[in-house]
């Protein structure tokens, strides 16, 4: 059979961001793929070395527009560790609240993109409509729908009052119903299952070999979650389940993500109940003592790791970011082999790519 090269990207309706996959296909069967990143490479690691510690909060929020808060959280907690700052418990709680809201937002967004990619526009519309509720809550809290600018070094910038918390509770309750419906849809809708079950199947071994983290790893039964294994922010004061599945296909990752959304909603409620009054920030100096720190956090897509080194000046000497999409892309190289062309969008959706994160 003749082989054709089918370019996916950098401009392709399947991708909201540019990256390029050169698929080699025989008829409808994809036999190989070549990945090219760099279309969104903004050189953030180098830029960060030229900005002050405070300016970097602003810069790092723009590593990724979907999980912006987790980046600043990881960065701030790293810098706070270098400064040996004690972050007030209320600030920790608010940080965690935003993290969980962001997870809900990201997972609902993902479900919509998956549905859109299998041609199920209706689910896309509904899950994005429900996502608006989370955006409303986040906007209510921080003033921004997408970029929240909540974190500052030493705490957070916002201090919600009782009225706001009440309105958040109401929003969360409404959202809970919608998420239950969506879970029901993912579990039972036939045509969605036909398209996602047994597609993009991975194994525990493959996931380990490619160092994949997050929902994709949990969908093959790897029980890992930084929130529980190395609690940061306020996670040590909260209780939640780490969701795992055993299927390893795209459907399993969908179940993991939707169930995690429910879990996040319960976390939000716990946070609102435990939110004691107090300070939301401690003062931080402009210079950070020399030293190095490795900071990890659980983004919606899995473990985020920052390595920060200070030379004792007002700028970082080195700031390294690794986001969960990078190992997922490595796994994709294996997944995009010997599958049907029509399954490519499903497999790509399954790992929940965030190219802006991967390219930096």
């Amino acid at each position: 059979m003749t082989r054709v090269t089918i370019p996916i990207g950098p401009q392709h309706p399947l991708l909201k961001e540019p990256l390029s996959f050169m698929l080699t296909a025989e008829g409808e069967r994809v036999v190989d793929s070549v990945l090219r990143l760099g279309y969104v490479h903004r050189g953030i690691e180098r830029l960060a070395e030229e900005r002050s510690w405070v300016q970097n909060v602003h810069l790092l929020e723009r590593v990724c527009g979907i999980c912006s808060h987790i980046h600043t959280t990881t960065y701030c907690q790293g810098v706070e560790a270098l400064l040996e700052l004690e972050v007030p418990p209320r600030a920790q709680m608010i940080r965690t609240l935003m993290c969980e809201l962001e997870r809900i937002h990201s997972h609902l967004l993902w479900l919509g993109v998956l549905a859109e990619n299998v041609g199920f526009t209706t689910i896309f519309m509904y899950s994005w409509r429900d996502r608006e509720m989370v955006l409303d809550i986040m906007e209510d809290l921080s003033g921004g729908r997408i970029a929240h600018a909540v974190n500052i070094i030493g705490g957070v910038r916002i201090d919600p009052d009782a009225e706001q918390l009440d309105s958040i509770r109401r929003g969360l309750d409404k959202l809970q119903q919608q998420v239950d419906t969506l879970l029901d849809v993912v579990q039972h809708e036939r045509s969605l299952r036909v398209r996602t079950q047994h597609v993009g199947r991975t194994t525990k071994e493959l996931v380990r070999r490619h160092c994949v983290v997050g929902p994709v790893a949990r969908a093959v039964g790897i029980d890992e979650d930084i929130r529980r294994d190395a609690p940061y922010a306020a996670y040590d004061r909260l209780s939640f389940k780490v969701i795992t599945e055993s299927g390893g296909d795209v459907w399993a990752t969908a179940l993991v993500r939707v169930r995690e959304t429910s879990e996040s909603l319960s976390l939000c409620h716990q946070i609102l109940d435990q939110l004691d009054p107090g300070d939301v920030a401690t003062r931080a100096g402009r210079r950070v003592p020399a030293g190095e720190v490795v900071s990890r956090a659980e983004a919606p897509r899995g473990e985020v790791i920052y390595y920060i080194r200070s030379a004792g000046t007002d700028k970082p000497a080195r700031l390294k970011i690794r986001t969960p999409t990078l190992p997922a892309l490595s796994l994709l190289g294996e997944q995009l082999r010997d599958i049907k062309l029509a399954d490519v969008p499903v497999v790509l959706s399954g790992v929940d790519l965030c190219i802006a994160c991967a390219d930096r």
């Binding site: 279309y39 969104v40 050189g43 830029l47 723009r62 527009g65 729908r145």
Partner: protein, 173 residues
């Protein structure tokens, strides 16, 4: 009379193509959000198209990275006239926080001519709609000209595009 009809049609049927030339996703999801129930831009006749050949308006997000430059230019070339370019977000307008990086060229207008700038980080969907509405209101087809005229890109742009043509194979991706 015919020109009036064409003008009416163009103002009411803007099909958009979205290209991210190096942005962080923030603007992109807000653009995608335009299609969803709360904003539903199909009310205004806006459809998000997949192929540059079907589109009237190019919605660009993000600063232009060096790797994206040729692709952006090629997409613009593939669009049939008349066409418009909208730079959505602060990065697309000026390069935003990423100015000064080794891999950045700056805003969209460094590569292709831009008709409308919508600043914001990211701009709210309402703002994008407002911007598009303003752009649409400026579309007109003068009575004394045939309806098919295009905004000519500056001469310098044309030259560099011509240089590119050797490698561009127009495969529509």
């Amino acid at each position: 009379m015919l020109n009036r009809l064409v003008q009416w049609a163009r103002r009411r049927s803007p099909w958009v193509l979205h290209y991210n030339s190096g942005g962080c996703n923030g603007c992109d999801i807000e653009i995608l959000d335009l299609l969803t129930p709360r904003y539903d831009v199909e009310r205004l006749g806006i459809l998000k198209e997949a192929s540059p050949r079907h589109a009237d308006i190019l919605l660009c997000t993000g600063p232009v990275t060096r790797q994206s430059r040729d692709r952006l230019r090629r997409i613009y070339e593939q669009m049939p006239a008349p066409k418009w370019v909208v730079a959505v977000g602060t990065c697309a307008t000026s390069g935003g926080v990423f100015r000064g990086s080794y891999n950045m060229l700056g805003g969209i207008d460094q590569v292709i001519p831009v008709d409308l700038y919508i600043p914001g980080c990211p701009p709210r969907p309402e703002v994008i709609i407002e911007g598009l509405a303003r752009l649409l209101a400026t579309i007109d087809v003068p009575e004394d000209k045939p309806p098919r005229d295009a905004a000519e890109p500056p001469a310098e742009q044309l030259k560099s595009v011509a240089a590119d043509e050797g490698e561009a194979s127009d495969d529509g991706d």
